[in-house]
């Protein structure tokens, strides 16, 4: 099935420094989520499910793992002829110096040659660090119906929180008349989700101009979108009502995992018509031991539970030893909670070992405790 009418570019260069030790060695889009996934599985699976064939992933920060991860495009079914996932890191070019991506728009500008190979009608810009399920084909239909130059996905946020977001002010027809980044006095509650569809011809022209502009930050939100509004282009807000989360902090990453514990959670990862695809693993199914007690949990294959698990999400290969108690916590892949240890309101990073009888976290803590290093157990 060849189409390539719309090409997708995923901005995955950010570090996500508020995720602290989780992103010292990997970029934020490669961070684990929901038992078996990585964050970037969401935009990639959305692309695959929306019938997009070619996806460019723009990486920069600590990208070795991320690059090798997304390069295996068969995981998302994007390995047929005319389709693929391509890693686009900053590269040295013949007539310029080696450039890092200076901003979100610059990351696209530096890959105009790649995009031109496919000669798309439309370009979809996505962020690699959000959790949501969305059919971009519907958004493209909306873009075409409005004969738009750009369509920006927005979601309503509570009015009192609107000053934390990039807010789109629209007229009665959904046309964007003003864009305000973190306004002190917001006029609307429609927050930009960082998802854009552009008609490529126009964007291409604007990007080339923007590259030469020394005063530009080369950013979509700060430069390109305001410029388009100024030029009186047709920009439309596409309202999205489903589950969406920016898992930018340890607390929000934890919370977003906890959302999955509600069997009626709106993300509904079990929907067979919109699966999220990820790396395949060769493990046993989950093994629940003779003395195990599990209540309200989200557990994936390869996990072994001998102790107690309550209100928690357990990722591939995590082990909860005998008499260990894991409550209100997230155990990332390969975490071992040894015999008699307790873990409460914590997020334990990949392959961390919590020693025998160790106590981590507190049920009344304000913030979620991040455990990123092994904790040695009691000696006795």
């Amino acid at each position: 099935m060849a189409q390539n009418e719309m090409l997708a570019m995923i901005l995955a260069g950010g570090r996500g420094s508020r995720l602290k030790d989780l992103t010292t060695k990997v970029a934020k889009p490669a961070v684990y989520f929901g038992g078996k996934y990585r964050i970037i599985d969401f935009p990639l699976s959305n692309c695959a499910n929306s019938g997009i064939d070619v996806v460019g992933v723009l990486t920069q920060y600590e990208s070795v793992l991320l690059n090798s991860y997304v390069a295996q495009d068969g995981r998302w079914g994007l390995d047929s002829k005319d389709s693929g996932v391509y890693v686009l890191t900053p590269r040295e070019k013949a007539d310029e110096g080696l450039d890092v991506y200076r901003g979100t728009a610059d990351a696209i500008s530096q890959n105009i040659d790649f995009i031109d190979n496919y000669d798309p009608e439309y370009l979809l810009i996505l962020s690699g660090d959000h959790i949501y399920k969305m059919n971009y084909a519907n958004m493209l239909d909306f873009h075409k119906e409005n004969n738009a130059d750009a369509t920006i996905a927005v979601r309503p946020v509570p009015m009192k929180e609107a000053s934390r977001f990039g807010i789109m002010n629209t007229d009665g027809n959904g046309r964007i008349v003003e864009f305000e980044e973190k306004p002190a006095k917001p006029k609307s509650n429609l927050a930009s989700m960082g998802i854009y569809i552009f008609s490529w011809k126009l964007l291409r022209k604007m990007l080339i101009e923007d590259m030469k502009n020394p005063d530009s930050d080369h950013d979509f939100g700060k430069d390109i979108i305001p410029r388009m509004i100024e030029d009186n282009r047709g920009l439309f807000a596409y309202e999205f009502k489903g589950y969406w989360k920016d898992v930018g902090t340890i607390d929000s990453l934890w919370e977003s995992n906890m959302d999955l514990l509600d069997p009626k959670n709106p993300l509904n990862l079990g929907d067979p018509t919109w699966l999220i695809y990820t790396e395949d693993v060769s493990t046993l199914p989950q093994y629940i031991g003779k003395e195990a007690k599990i209540k309200n949990a989200y557990i994936t294959q390869g996990v072994r539970v001998e102790g107690q698990v309550t209100n928690s999400v357990l990722f591939t290969g995590a082990v909860v030893g005998p008499n260990a108690k894991v409550t209100d916590s997230v155990l990332m892949p390969g975490v071992v909670v040894e015999e008699g240890a307790t873990v409460t309101r914590a997020l334990v990073a990949e392959n961390v070992r919590i020693g025998k009888k160790v106590k981590i976290g507190d049920k009344n803590s304000e913030n979620i405790e991040l455990v990123a290093k092994n904790v040695k157990g009691g000696t006795k």
Partner: protein
């Protein structure tokens, strides 16, 4: 250059019939431990042993095997240098006594003769074990034998390993004869229907067998030939199960609920590959009580599960109790249902039948798609 072998995954012959389950698919396609199918074991063994040309023989009902094996990409076989071929017998009647392994090989003899590898490893799609076939091949070559077959010493042949063959070996591990396991003694050497030999030897055996009798199986012809050829046995150690009857299948699944036994079969350095279904993790509700069980992904569990194997995307509603049972993918067990010592096939929906209880040595079988 080291000697190389291609692989043949064989299909169970028509003397083997597993009640219920077998009506819907060949044994190779039986679900095993929730997320696997039986055929994942021989193919993964071959893949892990660097065998990347594999022929899978399908004797009947090819759909589920064809769907599961597909291109073989998930078995980690190089997509250019390697290949998995599904091969079929021309004799399409699955019940026919002439539709056996030899007739399938004879029908595809030209393909077998064209293989570039000098040796062949033949392994069954109806047994579960872990074996590095490179060791078997090395042993075969260094011993100078014509045929080397794999066997396992068991101490419960009266009760289990039905429809299997036993071998009699002399002190030099020479095979004297191959017999049916008639349950006459507990201590037996079970033939694992796994052979290593030269490709040309194999071709001759197939030709000889078809010439002598169209009812002969590979085991029959090897039995006859062990009088005149050098047939040796190589002992397999580790976990071994045959899935040649409903009781054997049930027994094997229950045995692996012991985590130490299961971890002997599943080692990180010897992965068992399977086809992913991309199901999400399993949801345990507030009311869930699960112990001593293997649970696959995609399930919704509100009820009680003890000592059982739960397949993918199974739903167990509040108050339902499942004990010592195997529940296959997409089955739904509604409120208040009690299931014990049973095997519930795929897509079954248990609503009104509140008590489904079998015997520990004779599990109750619930048909695929049944609504009870």
């Amino acid at each position: 250059m080291a000697a190389s072998a291609f692989g043949i995954v064989s299909s169970a012959d028509n003397t083997i019939h597993v009640e219920g389950l077998h009506d819907y698919r060949p044994i190779g396609a039986f679900s095993f431990l929730g997320r696997f199918r039986v055929i994942d074991f021989p193919i993964s063994n071959m893949s892990n042993s660097n065998i990347n040309r594999i022929q899978v023989y399908v004797r009947s009902r090819p759909r589920s095997i064809a769907e599961h094996v597909g291109s073989g990409r998930h078995y980690n076989i190089n997509s250019k240098r390697g290949k998995i071929q599904l091969l079929f017998s021309e004799n399409s009647s699955s019940r026919s006594i002439y539709n056996n392994d030899i007739s399938a090989y004879a029908d595809n003899l030209d393909i077998i003769q064209r293989m570039h590898q000098d040796y062949v490893i033949i392994a069954p799609s109806y047994m579960v074990y872990k074996q590095d076939y490179r060791q078997l091949l090395d042993e075969h070559i260094s011993s100078g034998a014509d045929i080397t077959c794999l066997y396992h010493k068991v101490d419960n042949a009266r009760e289990y390993f039905r429809n299997c063959h036993t071998i009699n070996v002399n002190r030099q591990k020479g095979v004297q004869s191959i017999d049916k396991n008639l349950g006459t003694a507990n201590n037996k050497n079970i033939l694992m229907d796994t052979y290593c030999m030269k490709r040309d030897t194999f071709v001759e055996l197939v030709k000889d067998a078809s010439w002598m009798s169209s009812m002969y199986t590979l085991a029959d012809i090897v039995n006859i030939m062990c009088k005149q050829m050098d047939v040796r046995a190589y002992q397999h150690k580790g976990y071994f199960a045959t899935l040649t009857s409903l009781e054997d299948y049930y027994h094997a699944s229950m045995e692996l609920l012991d985590y130490d036994t299961a971890s002997d079969l599943f080692k990180a350095e010897w992965p068992i590959y399977t086809r992913t279904t991309d199901s999400c993790p399993t949801q345990y509700y507030d009311t869930a009580k699960v112990t001593d069980s293997f649970v696959s992904n995609g399930c919704k569990i509100e009820g009680t599960i003890e000592n059982s194997v739960i397949g993918r995307s199974v739903v167990v509603r509040k108050g339902a109790v499942i004990k010592n049972s195997i529940i296959m993918a997409y089955a739904q067990i509604e409120e208040g249902v009690h299931i014990e010592n049973a095997i519930v096939d795929k897509w079954a929906h248990i609503i009104h039948a509140k008590n489904i209880v079998g015997e520990p040595d004779a599990p109750q079988y619930i048909k695929r798609n049944d609504t009870l």
